[in-house]
């Protein structure tokens, strides 16, 4: 079909732009639906985004076989190969650079999530058969507590001697 003559109503697919640091700035790569072709992508980019392409190349990546996720109805785990991914590299008329990564990941709570994952992992490892052979993480925490307690005692801020509270009454 001639460029721009194919009418598409209510398209039910999404196209994602990939970050490719090793591609030159006039090249950009997309993840596209498996049944999309190069001509369609050129058409789509021009009419939806006003981006002119000089050339398009595509390839399909097969996915590795993986276990199915646990399902309520079908509890038997089965091997399956997920759907293949189609990627297209487009040569642009005007260069484009993917925006920079965020410098500080604090708004995404990376420390919090990592700490939670670490705690979970340690808990899970406590159930392994050779968990008792390894020093448990609780012991290291006890050691830290002892060190802290000793430092508090030596600082003189903590009361170490016992004070008698009960008074003898002469009735």
């Amino acid at each position: 079909m001639k460029f721009g003559t194919k009418q598409v109503f209510l398209p039910n697919f999404s196209i994602g732009l990939l970050r490719k640091p090793h591609l030159p700035p006039n090249f950009v790569q997309f993840i596209v639906p498996l049944n999309l072709n190069k001509l369609d992508l050129k058409d789509y980019l021009y009419h939806a985004y006003g981006v002119e392409c000089l050339s398009v190349r595509s390839y399909i990546e097969q996915q590795k076989i993986q276990y199915s996720k646990p399902h309520l109805i079908n509890k038997r785990l089965e091997w399956y190969r997920p759907r293949a991914i189609k990627k297209m590299t487009v040569e642009l008329k005007e260069p484009f650079i993917y925006p920079e990564e965020p410098e500080n990941l604090a708004p995404w709570g990376k420390d919090r999530v990592e700490q939670a994952e670490k705690t979970n992992r340690e808990y899970q490892e406590g159930f392994s058969p050779d968990a008792k052979k390894k020093p448990s993480p609780v012991r290291s925490k006890l050691r830290d507590r002892m060190v802290y307690f000793e430092s508090m005692q030596n600082s003189g801020k903590v009361q170490t001697e016992s004070i008698e509270v009960e008074k003898e009454l002469n009735v």
């Binding site: 039910n12 970050r19 939806a48 006003g50 981006v51």
Partner: protein, 230 residues
Amino acid sequence: MSNHILRPCLRAVTTPLNATSFSTTASSAFTRLNRDRSKLRGVSALRRSPKKIALAAAKFPLPEPVKLEDHKDKLEVNPDHGLWGFFADKKALPTPLEDSEHGRAWTVEELRAKSWEDLHKLWWVCAKELNIMLTQRIERERLKPGEGAHEARRRAMQIKNTQRGIKHALTERYYAWQEAQAIAATDPDVDLSGDRPAYSPKDFEEETPDVSSTAPAQTPAPPMGKPTTL
């Protein structure tokens, strides 16, 4: 007369400091002396390794490609580039707070009132927004910054619900049109062939009731038009 082979001087060549070469060793002087005289070096029948062949192309070193990092300052991306449509606020990834700032999906009641042109435009707005969300999802899976996936899923759900509502309203309209077509086939007043006007009612008579004070209250009821089967 001695038959000795003339060899290049083994002493280090001392060049004065104002000369072009700063090296005190001429490496080309030693390669011929220290060459590998064994021509069958590395040839193995067990490992099937071939004889070493000197390539003429090895004399010319390969050029190094230009790295983007070194020249990034010189490059300026057009602020009106079409591909910015794949990003929200020209950022790679929104924070979970930014992503959760969104409204609800369009309801079917609201969409029923809209024309086909408006619904189609809204569909494309949703489609382009989903492209942004897919781009962000790919980046989030690569970066693994922590949280944000849940908020993004919720946002995408609203967009997909809007699209679903659009299809719902259009389907309802299509079913109504289909039913109207079926009725039109049986209705004698309706002619969809295109030759005559589409609706030409025959038995409709308009009779106004007598409003004079002397006339009796009993007046014949005005004949109704053909009852519709809707």
